[in-house]
């Protein structure tokens, strides 16, 4: 994707700013831009979230279907990520133009969610070897303002937090086939355990330093960025007493590199450590925001804004 047009002097200005830890929008190298997050915005989906990170706008809908589990994993459900780059973001995405970007993001997400320490697929099992839930996580990119990976992972985690699976009321065995009866009551449903779900942090190498949350302008100044997927901490996502919940340490669930450049091993190590620290802060902030919103929904105080605000 071609970024915004920048002259070489503008690039040097951004580079010097990063070197002095004072970026062009006033942030330091480890600060994120302000975000807006709203869950439950699409009524046709089981769970949804919309995240706006400055200019970047992501809408995620989670749809659930009943499927047959894979023969080599009979006790596990399935999760699939699909990214659609809407042409609303840039005319380049018209037709199949955004496919390459979409594939790379969905690949990254699929890899980050691969391990059961990040997302336990066993909770999607209905009937071992016969029936399971399949989650379709559909990610719609409405506007690109830099740092897509982080925004997508945050929105996906929020949407999964918002997802409700209906309870199975009864199951009839008819020969080899299972006939399920699901609860119709929307409140009679279970939530997913997504405390450990990973967040992706992009570290963009500009000059000799790495910055988090690059804007589109900053992205066009850098030749290499590192994406670190870090598992979350369930402690941040539950309202009850947190003492009896194991304090899980953050772990890397995926690491990848993007862009035509290369990095020195030392920089790579520093960047991974920086990414883990950033992910911890993000995870805590996301947990707080989601719990607050859930509380507001329970006491019927929540205003639904959607795109009208």
């Amino acid at each position: 994707m071609a970024g915004p047009l920048l002259s070489s002097t503008e690039k040097i200005f951004i580079l010097h700013g990063v070197q002095n830890d004072y970026r062009s929008d006033g942030r330091s190298n480890i600060d994120y831009r302000p975000m807006e997050l709203e869950t439950d915005v699409v009524s046709h989906a089981s769970g949804s979230a919309r995240l706006r990170l400055a200019n970047t706008d992501i809408l995620v809908g989670v749809k659930t279907e009943i499927d047959v589990p894979k023969p080599d994993n009979p006790g596990k459900g399935k999760i699939e990520f699909f990214v659609d780059c809407s042409a609303n973001a840039t005319p380049e995405f018209e037709g199949r133009g955004g496919e390459q970007l979409a594939n790379s993001i969905s690949n990254m997400m699929q890899r980050a969610y691969h391990t059961s320490q990040a997302f336990n697929l066993k909770q999607l099992c209905i009937f071992e070897g016969k029936q399971c839930w399949k989650l379709y996580v559909d990610i719609l990119i409405l506007e690109c303002g830099g740092n897509l990976c982080d925004a997508v992972s945050l929105a996906v985690k929020a949407a999964l937090f918002n997802t409700r699976l209906p309870f199975v009321k009864a199951a009839l065995m008819d020969g080899g086939n299972v006939d399920l009866q699901l609860s119709d009551d929307p409140y009679d449903s279970k939530q997913l355990d997504i405390g450990c779900a990973p967040l992706l942090v992009t570290l963009c190498k500009i000059g000799d330093k790495c910055v988090v949350d690059p804007s589109a302008e900053e992205e066009s100044c850098s030749v290499i960025s590192l994406v670190v997927g870090v598992t979350g901490n369930p402690k941040f996502y539950c309202t009850e007493d947190t003492t009896n919940i194991l304090n899980v340490e953050c772990k890397c669930s995926t690491i990848g590199m993007n862009g035509p450049g290369s990095v020195a091993p030392k920089t790579l190590k520093d960047a991974i450590n920086q990414g883990i620290i950033a992910a911890k802060c993000l995870d805590e902030a996301l947990g707080k925001a989601l719990l607050r919103e859930r509380q507001e929904t329970i006491v019927m105080k929540k205003h639904s804004y959607g795109f009208l605000k």
Partner: protein, 250 residues
């Protein structure tokens, strides 16, 4: 004519509306900063985003010396419908919708002002609950206004159907998904209400010629009602003065 039972004995429709009542329309101009114009429109549970880029130089294959080329793309989010869609665009229905959208918008835009140029209109349906095409046209009109592209008139679209109260025909305006799925007639009209002209007309299922006029006039009335709502939204938006885009450009 024994049609499906779309009206209750009190004369109310399945979702509780009166026959001549539109669903609630809420809209906002200038939702995004990157496109030249953008709009969001909600018609009941149908939610649509539209973005406009241009006018800019037309790509070689599309150039026309007569006027501007309107390039439309209609896509539906995979989670927009009850059943998950596999592809957001590129299927036959979306391509047809793109063509229809182009027809309606070309009728509204003063195309002769920009020869050899192109305007891109991208519509994204976030949630479809009947009348997605109408909502798309209405949202695209707002986005065109937001982009400052000269229009002859507002392009508004509305659907209408017919139900039976006893043996009397009763036309219904702004058909919802349930009524559409029940298998009734659905007449889609896209028009420029202030010039009293029709840009696109599409009818699904058969309708007796005798009743065509009533249904059409009900749909046209719907278009006029929508025009009033759109006009008010545009005026409110302009009265606000400062949009996000202005702030960014300054």
């Amino acid at each position: 004519m024994p049609g499906p039972d779309l009206l209750s004995s009190q004369g109310l429709r399945l979702d509780g509306r009166r026959p001549n009542e539109l669903r609630r329309i809420r809209c906002k101009l200038g939702v995004f900063t990157q496109p030249d114009g953008s709009a969001y429109l909600e018609q009941g549970n149908t939610k649509v985003l539209a973005a406009v880029y241009g006018p800019h130089q037309a790509s070689k294959s599309k150039t026309s010396t007569d006027g501007v080329v309107v390039n439309c793309q209609y896509s539906m989010a995979t989670f927009s419908t009850g059943e998950r869609k596999n592809r957001p665009r590129g299927d036959r229905k979306s391509q047809e919708m793109s063509l229809h959208l182009r027809q309606s918008l070309t009728a509204a835009i003063k195309t002769e002002l920009y020869p050899r140029s192109q305007i891109d209109v991208y519509v994204e349906v976030l949630q479809a609950d009947g009348g997605a095409y109408c909502a798309s046209v209405n949202a695209a009109t707002l986005a065109l206004v937001d982009a400052g592209i000269p229009l002859k008139a507002y392009a508004c679209a509305c659907t209408a159907s017919i139900a039976w109260r006893g043996s009397e025909p009763e036309p219904l305006v702004d058909v919802g998904h349930v009524e559409e799925a029940a298998g009734g007639v659905c007449l889609t009209v896209s028009s420029l209400p202030s010039t009293r002209s029709v840009a696109l007309l599409e009818l699904s299922h058969k309708l007796h010629m005798d009743y065509f006029d009533v249904v059409l006039s009900r749909a046209m009335q719907g278009c006029r009602d929508i025009e009033v709502i759109l006009d008010r939204a545009v005026r409110e938006h302009l009265a606000e003065g400062w949009t996000k885009q202005d702030v960014v450009t300054i």
